[in-house]
């Protein structure tokens, strides 16, 4: 029993010190002395790696989720004879919830794990140590561009996801199931508010971007530099990032939409 309590205490302490190390790392990466010209270009490089290369999975998933929403929504709404509200349903679920959350989850799996593995591999092959010895801070050279690229890319991906999803919903609802096109879009426009729904959804997305990318780069930077360590850290990134996204989503939703 005593052992068990001691174990809980130890693991709590190690969690807290992990959080502390991660915060320090982020601080150093973002607020250290910077060389905007060089690091800007590196960030563009990384936006390609984490953003552009995630595009296909985001578009395909967005399309399918929009189509499923169209199908499911139609069957439920016809029970109440209000299939005109399909546009509203599809758009609201996408802008407020599914867009930011599903994009962040996919991003954690596709780009987050890749970031962890990449940084981890640089650590295992001593490239990070080598940078340090050359007199370049790897936090600024390696971690910072990847962090910023993630923070920039995820909201853009989320916008694309929501847009494609709405089109997917329209495709199923209007083209296949025969909901009137005019009422589909009019209902959508009447119920979706740019600031309350689209903009708040984007704020969610930015928060998720910061958290997911932070977890990914930290796990990569802090891992045990062996092949087993890289594998474990990659898994951790996906698990922690997904849990963090879902947990934060609840709080953000409560704050943003709780009163409406």
């Amino acid at each position: 029993m005593i052992d068990w309590i001691a174990g809980v205490g130890r693991s709590t302490l190690s969690q807290v010190s992990d959080l502390g190390r991660a915060s320090l790392m982020l601080m150093q990466a973002i607020f250290g002395r910077s060389n905007v010209g060089v690091y800007g270009r590196l960030t563009v490089d990384q936006i390609y790696a984490v953003g552009v290369l995630s595009l296909s999975i985001i578009i395909v998933s967005g399309l399918f989720i929009g189509m499923v929403l169209g199908l499911q929504g139609y069957t439920i709404l016809t029970d109440y004879g209000s299939e005109q509200a399909l546009g509203q349903m599809v758009a609201l679920s996408l802008t407020r919830e599914l867009g930011p959350v599903v994009t962040a989850l996919l991003f954690a799996g596709r780009a987050g794990s890749a970031l962890t593995a990449e940084i981890g591999l640089m650590k295992a092959t001593e490239q990070l140590a080598s940078l340090e010895m050359i007199g370049v801070d790897p936090l600024r050279r390696v971690v910072a561009p990847r962090f910023w690229a993630g923070v920039i890319s995820l909201p853009i991906l989320s916008l694309i996801f929501v847009s494609v999803g709405c089109l997917g919903g329209a495709l199923v609802g209007v083209s296949w199931l025969g909901v009137d096109s005019g009422s589909f879009w009019a209902n959508m426009q009447a119920s979706v508010d740019f600031f309350d729904d689209v903009f708040n959804g984007m704020i969610k997305s930015v928060v998720f971007a910061i958290v997911v990318t932070w977890i990914a780069v930290y796990q990569g930077y802090d891992l045990v530099p062996t092949s087993e360590g890289i594998a474990r850290a990659t898994t951790k990134t996906v698990v922690y990032a997904s849990l963090a996204v879902l947990g934060l989503d609840f709080f953000l939703t409560a704050v943003m939409f709780g009163e409406i």
Binding site: V44, Y48, L55, L159, M188, D197, V198
Partner: protein
């Protein structure tokens, strides 16, 4: 080593994001359709606004002409005052216009319906509508119905 293709695709990526934002703003949330020519404000006094929320539609003859922007409680008259923003495109409501709180469908959300009267003078920014019909509260309706039943016996 810094390839042009990479720059191009990142640029296209950001552009695609901007296009999607525009799509969401214009097509999905219909941002452009309201507030294009500015709005003006009308208020209406209701005895009961149960179920009405801010951002609810304001419609006239079934056409959306504005939105509810605020609901206040007026202590002096013990009534609710609803502030509405009406698009300038629909500036011609007569002074004897009536406002009623309606429900879209059986289970739908509450909205305000305006029906214009015959007065030659039009309402202007900041005016108050006094001719109102409150929200129907289901419990009151059932209460009245039961009362009628018992009095008929």
């Amino acid at each position: 080593m810094y390839s042009r293709r990479l720059e191009l695709s990142v640029g296209a990526f950001v552009l695609l994001g901007a296009l999607c934002l525009a799509f969401l703003a214009l097509e999905v949330s219909g941002l452009a359709s309201t507030g294009d020519n500015g709005t003006y404000r009308l208020s209406a006094r209701f005895d009961n606004v149960a179920g009405l929320t801010t951002r609810a539609k304001v419609s006239a003859a079934g056409v959306t002409v504005g939105r509810v922007v605020g609901i206040r409680y007026d202590k002096a008259t013990a009534a609710a005052i609803v502030d509405m923003e009406i698009s300038q495109d629909f500036a011609e409501f007569s002074e004897d216009t009536s406002a009623s709180i309606l429900t879209a469908g059986l289970l739908g959300e509450k909205y305000i319906g305006l029906s214009t009267g015959g007065d030659p003078n039009n309402l202007a920014d900041g005016d108050m509508i006094y001719d109102t019909q409150s929200a129907i509260v289901l419990e009151e309706l059932i209460g009245k119905f039961l009362l009628n039943m018992s009095s008929e016996k």
